[in-house]
Each structure stands twice: as C-alpha cells, then as structure tokens.
C-alpha cells in the first residue's frame, strides 16, 4: 500500500476526523485511484477497527469515531468514486422496530455495514412494520433488511416485522435476507422468529451482511 493510502488508513483507524478529508484530497491529487482509497484504505481500516472491537481492544466510542472519520473521507471521495464508476457492493435498509426509540446500536451497525462497502438506507427508529415492506416495494435493488431492538419489551415488534417481511418474500418470491440484532436478541430468538441471520455486535453485523450478500448471489 502506498504511503498516501497508508496515511488515510491509519487516520480512519484512529478516528482522526479532522485530518481524513485533507488526506483524501492529497491522495486524489497525487493520482491515487478513488476505488483504491475506498477499498484498501477506508474499508481496510474499518475492517481492522471491527476486528479490534471484537477482541475488546477498543469499544463503542472508538468505533463510532472511526466510522465518523471514514464518513468525512467518503464525502470528499464521492464525486471521484462516481467518475470511476464505483458501485456499492450491495444495498441494505436498517431500522429500529416499532415502539423502540433506541438508535445508538443501530447507528453503529449502519456505520460498520457502510464501512464494509454497502449502500445503507437508514429508516430511523420506531419504524412501523409496513414501512419496511413499503420501502422494499419501492426499491427493487434492496437485498437485505436489518432490524434492531434494544428493549426486551420491543422484541415482539421485531417478530411482527420479520413475519411481515417473510410473508412479503413468500408472496413475491423476491430474494431477500432478514438480519436481526440488539442487546436482548439471541441466535435462538432469531431462529424462532424466522430471521436469516443474527450477529451479536456491530463488527460481526458487517461480516454477516457480506455473508448474506454472498448467499443471495449463490442463490441461497
């Protein structure tokens, strides 16, 4: 990796929000490719961040700041990415289920999935079940739906949303993956309500989304 790319990677990893944009501009001016900046430096950095998070070397604050640093870089990089014909690897919608107003975990998951190269549409908190289904109907390019619930008391709303998504999938035959997560959620609960995947933290969620995408492409 070139020195310029390495500098961006290190800055994103360490959450240097203020310097990332400048470093990306420098790298572009020096002739580095937009796709390389995104994939090798930024997505590479977020993958390191995710790994450190899973190993308890860093925690939520450091991860949030790294994701924010990446966002700053992507803002500068966006026009060059468009010119280079760079496409996101997949499209995912995410939201906290009806009745639940928590967004810290959901935002973190959205950032990490974005950090893995996805286009993420965040529907926000307290998202009615119909909103998930309507958004899918409006946009046939969405491949994955991610549902979040923080409260044990809103787990039933997650089941409602999963039921509706499964019904929609059955009715239309659309290829789609439903992923769930949140503090009280377990793999057993995900299986019980008929979700396709569960992950226990935001770093694993990014890997889970990539796996779900690969499964979709493999026709699973």
């Amino acid at each position: 990796m070139s020195e310029k790319l390495q500098a961006i990677k290190t800055a994103v990893e360490n959450g240097k929000v203020k310097v990332v944009a400048g470093l990306v501009e420098e790298a572009l001016a020096a002739g580095e490719g937009a796709k390389e900046i995104l994939n090798e430096a930024m997505i590479g950095a977020m993958s390191v961040v995710g790994e450190k998070f899973k190993n308890n070397e860093i925690f939520v604050p450091e991860m949030l700041i790294a994701a924010r640093a990446m966002k700053k870089g992507v803002e500068v990089l966006a026009p060059a990415l468009k010119d280079a014909g760079s496409e996101p690897i997949g499209k995912l919608i995410i939201g906290t289920v009806a009745g639940d107003l928590h967004d810290i975990g959901k935002n973190l998951v959205a950032m990490m999935i974005e950090g893995a190269g996805f286009e993420v549409l965040d529907l926000g908190v307290d998202v009615p079940t119909e909103k998930f289904v309507d958004t899918l109907k409006e946009d046939p390019s969405i491949q994955i739906v991610a549902l979040s619930a923080l409260l044990t008391t809103t787990m039933p709303a997650m089941k409602d949303a999963t039921d509706a998504l499964n019904a929609y999938r059955k009715e239309t035959g659309r290829k789609l993956k439903i992923l769930v997560g949140g503090a009280p959620i377990t793999q057993a609960y995900a299986d019980e309500i008929g979700a396709d995947g569960y992950s226990e933290d935001a770093a694993s969620a990014a890997e889970l989304a990539k796996k779900a995408l690969a499964d979709l492409k493999a026709g699973k």
């Binding site: 929000v17 308890n56 860093i58 925690f59 939520v60 604050p61 450091e62 949030l64 700041i65 924010r68 009806a98 009745g99 107003l101 928590h102 810290i104 307290d126 409260l151 044990t152 008391t153 039933p156 709303a157 503090a183 009280p184 377990t186």
Partner: protein, 265 residues
Amino acid sequence: MNAILLDGSMGLYLQSKIGDLGKYPELTNISHASQVREIHAEYAAAGAQITTSNTFLVSPYRSTLAEYDITQMLMKSLTNALSAGLPIALDIGPLGRLLEPYGELSADDVYAEFAAVISAGAPVADYVLLETFADLREIEIALRAANECCSKPVFVTATFRADGTTYMGATVEQFAACANMCGANVVGFNCTLNPLEAREVFDRFKACTDIPLLVQPNQIEGAGADEFADAMMWYVERGAAYVGGCCGTTPAHIKALGDRIRDAS
C-alpha cells in the same frame, strides 16, 4: 446473612400483563396505573424491601417527545410506587444518547437531564437508583447531579459483560473508582448477565471497593425462579448487601430469593 431484597423487572412483567407498552412505556404510569400498582404490590408481597419506581425512561428530552409534564409524570409514578408501602428507589436509566465527541450531547446537556429528574423526584423518594449505565462519563455526571440536587442515598449500577467491561469500555475497577470518588452509597451491576455468568464481575468489585454491593442480574434463560434464587445465594453468601432481579425476573423470583435469604439467616 442480611442482604436487603429489591424487586424484579417492571417492563417485561408489565408487558406480560397488558401487552404492548407503546412507544413511551413510562406513560403506563398514567394509562395503566392500576396494573403498575399491582406489580409494585406483588413485589412487596413477595418480600421485596424496597420498591423501584417505574421511571427508568423518564427524562426531560423524552417528556418533550411524548408530550408529558415531567413533574406530573414523576409524581404519578412515585405515587404508584408508594402504594406498595415500602421505601422507594427513584429509578433512573442512562439517557440513550451519547456524549460528545462520539455523540451529540454536551456534558451540560447530560447534567440538565439528570438534574431535572432528581430535583423533582428525589424529595418524594427514599433513594436514588442510577442503573444500567455503560459510559463512565455519563455515570460521573449523573452522580454529580445526584450529589448536588438531593440528599438521598445514591445506588449506582453499570451493566457489564462477563469479561468485566461495559460496551462503552468501562471496567469494573474504573466504575467502582468513579462511584467511590463521587460518593455513591451503593455500587454494583445489573442486566446483561444472569447470576451464573456474573461471578467474576462480582469478585472484581469485591477486590476493589468497600462500598456495599448491589447485584441485580437477569433471569436465567430456560430456568425458573428456584434456579435463579439458588444462583443468587452465591452473592448473598459472599456479602452482597442488596440483591434483586432485572429483565425476566418476576415476583416468583423475588419470593424464592427472599425465602432462601430468610432460611439462611
């Protein structure tokens, strides 16, 4: 062994009685006051010695969203709690929003949220219970607000994973030091773990602080009240000063635990 018994979960247990709690569960203090009182009474009958008010989520920020008057909401909830006839702990949870630089809230914003709830609610309560915290800075500000806005004893718990860190990176030792520095009267942990999973966390508390300890873990998934109570006795035998339950625990869990504490003493 003379551990003092707190109550068990409110939210999940209330949900089992009335179904959907809605977007702002604190409104149940008004919309379902009789069921909330019934739960407080059930815990009292089960042997709880302190009633925890149904105010975990109450904050000025949420009062604006849900359009309720914060003082009226606190009075209503505390009146519900008072009906059980026990001393009351004014329950306060984390704000659910993050501090700068990883979030949007300034330290002053955070202080103002806690100060408003404590100033209005603590005069009617016997204790302040700050629970389920994860961010050391938020804990410190909440404790400062409790010190400056009331003279009631303050209990504070954080929620740890089995490795003794919160998801925000605070360790048991850092949290205990913070509670000590800020003059908390009781310190401990709640939620996330069940009593079979939290022993190491408890040992680490014991090794680093002399403040009386509060243990309020979740139910044991797939097990009943007796298994919970048996597992909780491990903490009672090792000197936990206050014990109770978090998510999934019910009056049956509290009754079973109370019976065992009585039998053991």
